[in-house]
Subunit: 445 residues, 2 copies
């Protein structure tokens, strides 16, 4: 029997960033070094690392590695074979990765913002210098979702995907539902507990989810990264009343990233979404993530796990490292292409504007208690070809002058819904803005 | 920019078996040929196929391929680059695969029985001739679970996995629960509907699940395939009464395959299992499959999808084909090893005997309605260090002479439980055998 060729020389890693995820990577490499070497065929060792502040407290030991405050020194170190970038953000991470690639060094990164914004240029640089950028850790933490989509479902025409891809947002929505508390209160608690950043904008406004959706869609459809075309709505305006009304209809509100293939292009949208409470996705609570992917051959598949945290993210970083180590000396044609399809075949699919999507809707309308008000609303909906699937007219609450009409509609083109809502808001018996949320049935999953 | 090397010559497939899955593969390759070629970098075409009966009705067209009743002719055809084996069973599939490998041809197979029984020899032949055996489709249909475990979780020490890996069994258990019907009645219906084979032995006795568990464990722990060491219990003895009592305790009964790493070896077991109704696995119904995998870094992850069927299985076969096409001309060191770890590092971990495992238990004991009977049972349990977590004593049903005591215990070594049950069955106030099922809390998942 011909022995499988082996090379027991360690692969030498340069690690940029020694914070939560960087520390997690060091700890997991230390703890599971033997197991990882069995898989990669070679030991993987961090020999040089950078940190902003050398005196900051760390979750990992620094034995056996040089440490510097200058990340470019790590990139340029000729002994470093592979660079792992865990600094985050666009600058200076982008320049560091670019330089590593120019030196022919493969890069593993968890940087969703950078990949979503500048991935196309980085992939081109990587190809030019026969290197790779691996980014499993950029989406949904430890869930191997990029691998599943890019390789595991390679036989499919992927029709759509929908995911809970921001753990902070899902934690907040779960706590609002379970404890009946308002958004602001739960957010403050999440910040206190460390589940939400001091500046929670990226999480609650959906920017972080939009970064991840951009990457998922590009790999699912073999299209360029189109972050600027993602329609994004946050969860900051969700009221506890809507969480409760949704439940009365048998739905949960989740903050979903959705990408869907249509004849005329791709839908890319992040927004609060009502989904039937029986769906698996509706039962993904707290900081967990899950992505539902529908392929034409396989049907619905779902991938669930921790979307953030030191060691779950390290799990994805190290999986990428093992892949990179296995193929770094191979001809590029033997590697999985960055966007699932060979570079010449990346298709510049257009993104459909949000006004042109079709979804069902949840509406909450505050009305004065006058005869005929419901009839006038129903007429406006009918005039716009919107049919009502379910309706509840709630009791007036004390010291309120209005009462809420809550309804679910059948599917409608967004443009028609916008028109109908403008007309409803113009009625003299309607007060304030109409609350609206999209509904997805996720049928069959 | 250096162009990614490409080779537009089609890869020529020899397909053994034109039944449900074979037909599905042909149909998906036809329908998604362009999408698949974008990913593989080359078109993939079936040029030669074999079928037992050339005149049988088919779900796929046969245009563009030669068809024969002699599968060895396909294997030996010098124009065939890759062999796809979808005949199933040990003979003649094993000989056909062996011959293909000896000719240096990579093989893709969905044959769980063959891999579970003879995989080690086939992998050795593959290495000897610089070929590969890919078997994603052998476990859980279209769910890319082998890829997730072998590559996606490569940074982890995998602690345990638990899966619903037989769709027929899960369909039967779901129907028993939802319709309150007996096992035999639901099985007959499943056979009529085509969800169960005419000979359902492999499915209901757990043999099929044991094949799949063997493969999952080998890839999760980097150990040899040890089918003969799997402890297997079927679902044929589950009574509707137990399904209902389990629900009263807040549990669902699922037929699980479980593999767990312990200090002294690996647990490998397939048996009916009570799991808390809130777990995601408890909500996987009908013919769907799902596998929960716990890695020390990533924590719990779950993978859900169709476990059988023409196109879901074709999805896995084609994913393997794309991987094989991408690396067939590469040095073997650039390929993912069969059992996740490089061949020299496969560790011959012992399988723990079932008497040595520790689980909680569900017990149903038929007793005569006499004073002191419960006290005597409780004493036997206490004498064997078994503590009761919950207990229900049910009303006597009409025209029955016994009443059931139903309980959940805390964790206990199986040997002690066997002893206790023997003593309980020897009591003169106890009738018949004690019904027993293991309980797993699947905590944190």
């Amino acid at each position: 029997m011909t022995a499988q060729p082996q090379n027991n020389t360690p692969v030498r890693i340069g690690l940029l960033g020694l914070g939560t995820v960087g520390g997690g990577v060091v700890n997991v490499l230390n703890r599971n070094g033997a197991e990882i070497a069995r898989r990669a065929g070679r030991p993987i060792e961090v020999i040089h690392a950078s940190a902003r502040n050398l005196d900051a407290p760390r979750i990992c030991p620094l034995e056996g590695m040089m440490v510097t405050t200058n990340p470019m020194e790590v990139v340029e170190n000729p002994d470093v074979d592979v660079v792992v970038e865990l600094i985050g953000g666009i600058k200076p991470a982008g320049d560091l990765i670019k330089r590593a690639l120019e030196l022919g060094k493969p890069v593993v990164t968890a940087n969703k913002a950078l990949i979503a914004h500048d991935g196309m240029a980085l992939f081109e640089t990587a190809q030019k210098y026969n290197a790779t950028v691996a980014f499993e850790a950029a989406v949904a933490g430890g869930i191997p979702i990029i691998k599943a989509i890019r390789e595991g479902l390679a036989g499919n025409r992927i029709e759509w995907l929908a995911g809970i891809i921001n753990g902070t947002g899902n934690y907040i929505l779960t706590a609002m539902r379970d404890d009946g508390r308002a958004f602001a209160e739960v957010l403050a608690e999440a910040q206190y507990l460390g589940y939400a950043e001091a500046d929670p904008t990226f999480d609650v406004e959906g920017v972080d989810a939009a970064h991840k959706l951009t990457i998922l869609a590009a790999t699912a459809f073999g299209m360029p990264l189109k972050f600027d075309d993602v329609y994004t709505e946050g969860i900051g305006d969700i009221e506890i009343a809507d969480v409760n009304y949704a439940r009365e209809f048998g739905y949960q509100i989740k903050h979903l990233g959705i990408a869907r293939r249509r004849d005329d292009g791709i839908e890319l949208r992040v927004h609060p979404t009502l989904i039937p409470e029986k769906r698996l996705l509706a039962n993904v609570d707290g900081v967990q993530n899950a992505i539902l992917v529908w392929g034409d051959a396989v049907g619905p598949t779902m991938y669930y796990g921790a979307g953030a945290g030191a060691e779950p993210t390290a799990s994805a970083v190290i999986a990428d490292l093992v892949d990179v180590v296995r193929t770094m000396t191979a001809d590029p044609m033997h590697r999985v292409p960055h966007l699932a399809v060979v570079p010449d075949e990346v298709a510049d699919l257009p993104v459909v504007p949000i006004e042109s999507i079709d979804t069902a809707y949840y509406l909450r309308i505050a009305v004065l208690d006058r005869p005929g008000v419901l009839a006038r609303i129903a007429k406006i909906l009918a005039d716009n070809d919107i049919s009502i699937e379910a309706m509840m007219q709630k009791e007036m609450t004390e010291d309120e002058r209005t009462l809420p009409i809550v309804m679910l509609t059948h599917k409608v083109r967004e443009r028609a819904m916008n028109r109908a809502i403008a007309n409803i808001e113009a009625l003299d018996t309607v007060r304030g803005s109409v609350v609206r949320m999209r509904v997805e049935t996720l049928k069959g999953a």
